[in-house]
């Protein structure tokens, strides 16, 4: 149990790595906030103007690009074992997304299930990535 807690809390990582990881978390939070806020405002018809939608999409895109660049910068300076764990988790998330998308496309074409929503893809990737990180840290502990 203690190993699991340590794996979740990434215990023992150098302070600089934790600081960089917190920066990434902040940008992920901001990106998710702009995404959720924009979609909610569109659904509640607060945003009806296409120009405002375009601006909102650009703001979300800018947040996303900054998030990706901050993450890449963090990976370059990260502790080398943690970097390997991160790469493995990313690979698992991409593989899972491809597999789920492929299988759901077949099921949707056969009218067995509805088309897979993009938000589900993001959720599946996020959970696979997080699971991959914890599994990787437990494997190395």
């Amino acid at each position: 149990m203690r190993k699991l807690i340590d794996a979740v809390l990434i215990k023992g990582l150098p302070a600089a790595d934790i600081k960089n990881a917190n920066k990434v978390n902040l940008w992920i939070f901001l990106w998710a906030c702009t995404l959720v806020a924009t979609v909610m405002m569109q659904e509640m018809q607060i945003i009806q103007n296409s120009v405002v939608s375009l601006v909102a999409a650009l703001v979300n895109l800018a947040m996303g690009v900054t998030m990706a660049l901050t993450y890449r910068r963090m990976l370059h300076t990260l502790d080398e074992m943690e970097r390997k764990i991160q790469y493995n988790a990313l690979a698992s998330a991409v593989a899972m997304a491809m597999l789920v998308y492929g299988a759901s496309s077949i099921l949707a074409k056969a009218a067995i299930t509805p088309e897979l929503d993009a938000s589900w893809m993001l959720t599946i990737m996020a959970f696979t990535y997080s699971g991959g990180l914890i599994a990787g840290r437990l494997r190395m502990a």
Binding site: G12, M81, E82, M140, A141
Partner: protein
């Protein structure tokens, strides 16, 4: 890959945290290397060799 990192570290009287600080990696990385669960990169292996004033082959070997 096998290694003598634990022995060499013990000879110097260093803790895993001491070695981690000197090699600029996390203590978890040192633990994983000592247990043979993680193979260090070439730059890290060179850094360790320089630290102990040995060659890489003196510390790491790929024999069982």
């Amino acid at each position: 890959m096998n290694n003598r990192l634990k022995l060499l570290r013990a000879d110097k009287g260093w803790t895993q945290a001491d070695l981690a600080t000197q090699l600029d990696v996390s203590r978890q990385t040192i633990i994983a290397i000592e247990k043979g669960k993680f193979d260090p990169s070439l730059p890290l292996a060179f850094k360790a060799a320089r630290l102990f004033d040995l060659t890489i082959e003196d510390i790491f070997n790929d024999h069982d």
